[in-house]
Symmetry: C2
Subunit: 255 residues, 2 copies
DNA sequence: TAGTGGTCTAGACCACTAG
DNA sequence: TAGTGGTCTAGACCACTAT
């Protein structure tokens, strides 16, 4: 009696028990959990209850389910480190510029794919707040890119810039010319500073589906602004799976 | 027939429908949703199914439940911006040093609470990797702090430093003396650079309970290293509610 | 085909909150 | 007390995967 009732719900105690086993290393990443019927038997609970416990662990990012196969301890995917080095002139100004966001930490042997399209849209508020002279709803260019690593969608990136900027450099709109996007911005006016604003949130269901994000995985939302001698010329929003990314900043102690 | 069946499950379609209403502004933050029985009636589904739909929206951070009251559209909490300015010498070296992480963006009229305790623990791996001469399991000091804003637990912070460092400055261990923690580190050896490594993940259930984090809210995990003339002296891990934080970095384009 | 997870139901009961 | 959300059950049926 004493150990079976502690005021916590059955599903919570089941989840706690399984989580403890995972954290203790009793279950290793990639291992398959006992089937739901077995767990129900083991914990003397109904199938639904045990499933609710598993759902919690999925939402914590500890377990992934494969329908028709089983529940598995989640493997930690390779984490990519995003340091400021990826903005180095030597990276994008050189002979063989790498895609900007894959510059560091990417292991060898990865297949990187990218799709791009450019169109005109009304400026979202976060763009209007950062691009001088632009109000929400004004037409701006957006360059949408989706990057995959080994077939897994890793991030989406939307770069916004004004129609005037697009006129000054058709290459930007077309996504052509030497170097990457930053090189083309730089050709218009030197990029003096880079600003990154980082938030994190849960993806919405449609987003999860589109980016193929498993349950329990947050996303980073990064707003990156290129500050040039002519002011901010480009505002981009990145959505990146949080389980595949780490940001790394190192700076001198400010006065 | 055609519109009722699209291959998606009932709970997904209900969740999509409610999400669309939220995003369209039909429901405003703070608004109460119709009760579960009403929704069940409206969508011609069982209570359980409608609850599963609501659970999804909670896990997306769009809805919060208050037992015995109802389901509500989630209000966006005030976001605190973490810029590098909070490490400025003028902030912590001045007369009335503010708590480091609240330096910027904190609105007026907030009540800030902090609890602190210091003890010796075996070094976790992330500490051993960053403090020279320390191997995993070696005894180190840890200074644990929990910060609340208006009674809401906002973050926990664990600072790790070596026993040798503690001996050089008893103030660090006691958490006393002029200025904050950084000032005391700085007194031992000038802090030349600050490094912050940022990841995001879902909190575990125990963590959610301890930090009182609502469902659908990820946490930032920040590892901050103080690099001094004597090398890294202090490694701290912060766990911060992601819905109350935004990080802001701005740096010159590296060469 | 057999085993897995996923969805759904009707209904019982508990826990919390407001009036 | 009445209404709300939370937990739990037994059982039916669907969807997917492996063999």
């Amino acid at each position: 009696m004493s150990e079976t009732t502690d005021g916590r719900s059955r599903q919570l105690r089941i989840a706690d028990s399984i989580r403890a086993r995972i954290e203790a290393g009793e279950y290793q990443p990639g291992d398959q959990l006992p089937g739901l019927p077995a767990l129900a038997q083991q914990y003397q609970a109904s199938l639904v209850t045990v499933r609710l416990a598993i759902t919690r662990l999925k939402n914590e990012g500890l377990i992934v389910s494969r329908q028709g196969v089983g529940n598995f301890i989640r493997r930690k995917p390779t984490v990519k480190r995003y340091g400021i080095g990826r903005y180095s002139r030597s990276v994008w100004g050189g002979q063989n510029p790498k895609p900007l966001l894959i510059a560091e930490g990417g292991q060898q042997g990865k297949t990187i794919g990218q799709t791009t399209e450019t169109e005109q849209v009304p400026a979202p508020s976060f763009v209007a707040e950062r691009l001088p002279g632009i109000s929400e709803g004004d037409l701006v260019y957006v360059r949408r890119r989706t990057t995959t690593i080994d077939g897994v969608i890793n991030q989406s990136a939307d770069s916004y810039f004004t129609l005037a900027t697009g006129q000054r450099s058709p290459d930007i709109v077309a996504g052509e010319g030497p170097g990457g996007h930053i090189a083309r911005i730089n050709a218009i006016s030197p990029v003096l500073e880079v600003q990154e604003e980082i938030t994190a949130r849960m993806p919405t269901s449609p987003e999860s589906a589109r980016l193929e994000i498993p349950d329990g995985t947050p996303v980073f939302e990064v707003i990156r602004t290129y500050h040039t001698a002519d002011g901010p010329l480009d505002v981009a929003k990145f959505v990146i799976r949080a389980d595949m990314a780490a940001f790394d900043y190192r700076f001198p102690t400010p006065d």
